[in-house]
Chain length 326, copies 2
């Protein structure tokens, strides 16, 4: 029985790169694709950026491939992460041979806590002058992330990971996060090396090769993975996975790129690499590896979109990837 | 009447770079120096990392030059910033000719909110599983920072600044921060361009030249300025100023560097550049410019400490700076 994959193009270049990724998925596996809507366009039409029907479809599917949303990004992606019960956002950031990078030796994977921290949604306007946000950290969510991280590094034959935090200032909350992660790692026989998130920002620029898998709270993961995107040459190449207990959502880290949307010039690599993460997640390891190899080969010597200094279009790159999969 | 400058060496290389900076100050101005203690060593001796006497002396002085503290850093520096009523942390991050940098075109100044955000100190352990932190943002503190920023860019003949935030997620708190900063800028006729803090992290790596003065909430300023430190070649060259209404504290951004402490090999440049910020703050603009020029000349063609690939000591570099001041 073929798996059901929800496909949400969203806005802007989401409508160009997601079809590209779907054509790649279609070439290597026998999925049943279900289209769903979310984003600025739906909001303009219906008043809702994320229709309940989309939320429900995503919650029930085997996996979802999402493109990007514009102004409504937070209204779409945060509830969608919740719809799949995602407790971890996996964000690999690596430089590819043939692609200009500030730091070509970068090869990192961020495992970002995906449910709490400053993303908890509790904010209050307490007076004319003062507002507060309640940052939430639980041991249970931190442990769940840490257990995932331990399996993740074990699967890759690595001995440990870094845990980035700001527990010297957020002593109780990031202290709880750090302790939970370190305790789980110890129990699982995995090395967890601590690094303050600000020190990480300096050190990763100076020498990214000293890091590998980095476990972090929600906002730290957001900012530090975007920093790593800068080191590898931009957001155009970064895929991501939002993984839940029995469901997952995959998305390129880039946004809608309104400056180039509609021109057929968007780089589909991040979306196709997100599709590769989807394949791997569903157990299609060989197909995932094939797709990655094809994308890498195109990045090294195939047609290039303008963001990488070429003048090929989304379709040219997609066709080149498909050719290499034959 | 000569100004009273409190000098706190603190721990580790603070004890090496602060005397270097004091000798430079002594060479160009007629200050009265008052020594005070804080840090790990004092904590070990007295049980208090920041004695009340030090706090009071700093609160009363014209300015303070601080080195670094070890494990007790947060217990020392956060109250000291409060002692001078510091509402802004000024963090210039620029690459110097002759010094290896990941991004040699980097020339940024972060104006970091210095009193609130996640640094408010309100954390609670609500249950066995859950802790919270109350992130605080006020319009008054945001406006005070913005007014400073407007004067700062006007003094430099620039037209505007960027304001980095995460108001797409922290809508009420960072929304308040953003609105206050943008409103003040508008009123003062200064351009304030918004950038999400995660997008800033990517963009500053790809092209730091597009940014100049960056206004940010407390933790954003902490992480993004450390990121910029990575782009210019490390923390060894970054000075900073914590400015209050009628008092200020100056410190290198680096820490105690326990790996090299006691060897006389620490790079005194960040401390000396912090002293230059102190001079400028007290109105000694010519002397500040002279010190900066001397440091730049040494960085370009003088003796180098091991962090910059040389084998000179702290004293060699300091002597070279002093020679160029004659
Ligand atoms: C759009 C925004 C809510 C989101 C986040 O902060 O998680 C984005 O920056 C991301 O990293 O996916
Ligand atoms: C030591 C720590 C509390 C401090 C901070 O977070 O402000 C440091 O990182 C800094 O940037 O001066």
């Amino acid at each position: 029985m073929s798996e059901e994959i929800v496909v949400i193009e969203g806005d802007g270049i989401g409508q160009e790169v997601v079809p590209a990724a779907v054509s790649v998925l279609d070439a290597v596996a026998d999925f049943q694709f279900v289209e769903a809507e979310a984003g600025d366009a739906v909001q303009a039409e219906t008043g809702e950026a994320l229709p309940q029907a989309t939320y429900d479809t995503v919650a029930d599917a085997d996996a979802t491939l999402f493109g990007a949303a514009g102004e409504t990004a937070a209204d779409v992606i945060l509830p969608l992460r919740e719809a799949v019960g995602s407790f971890v956002n996996i964000r690999p950031a690596r430089a590819y041979p043939g692609v200009d990078a500030v730091r070509p030796e970068t090869d990192l994977v961020f495992l970002r806590e995906n449910t709490e921290g400053v993303y908890s949604g509790h904010e209050d306007r307490l007076s004319e002058d003062l507002s507060t946000l309640t940052r939430v950290v639980t041991t249970s969510a931190s442990e769940q992330l840490a257990e995932f991280a331990c399996e993740y590094v074990a699967d890759r034959g690595e001995s440990g990971f870094h845990v980035a935090h700001k527990a010297n200032v957020m002593r109780e909350t990031d202290g709880r996060f750090r302790d939970a992660v370190v305790d789980v790692a110890e129990r699982e026989g995995v090395e967890a090396e601590e690094v303050l998130m600000d020190a990480f920002a300096t050190r990763v620029c100076l020498n990214p090769g000293q890091f590998d898998v980095v476990v972090c709270p929600n906002l730290a993961g957001d900012v530090l993975s975007d920093l790593a995107a800068g080191l590898v040459g931009g957001l155009g190449l970064l895929p991501s996975a939002n993984v839940g207990p029995d469901n997952a959502l995959f998305e390129p880290v880039h946004g809608t790129a309104p400056d180039i949307a509609g021109e057929g010039a968007a780089n589909p690599s991040a979306a196709i690499l997100s599709a590769a993460m989807l394949l791997e997640h569903l157990g299609y390891d060989d197909e995932a590896a094939d797709v990655r190899t094809a994308v890498e080969s195109v990045l090294e010597s195939g047609p290039r979109t303008p963001d990488l200094g070429g003048n090929a279009g989304t379709e040219d790159v997609t066709t080149a990837v498909l050719d290499r999969l034959d």
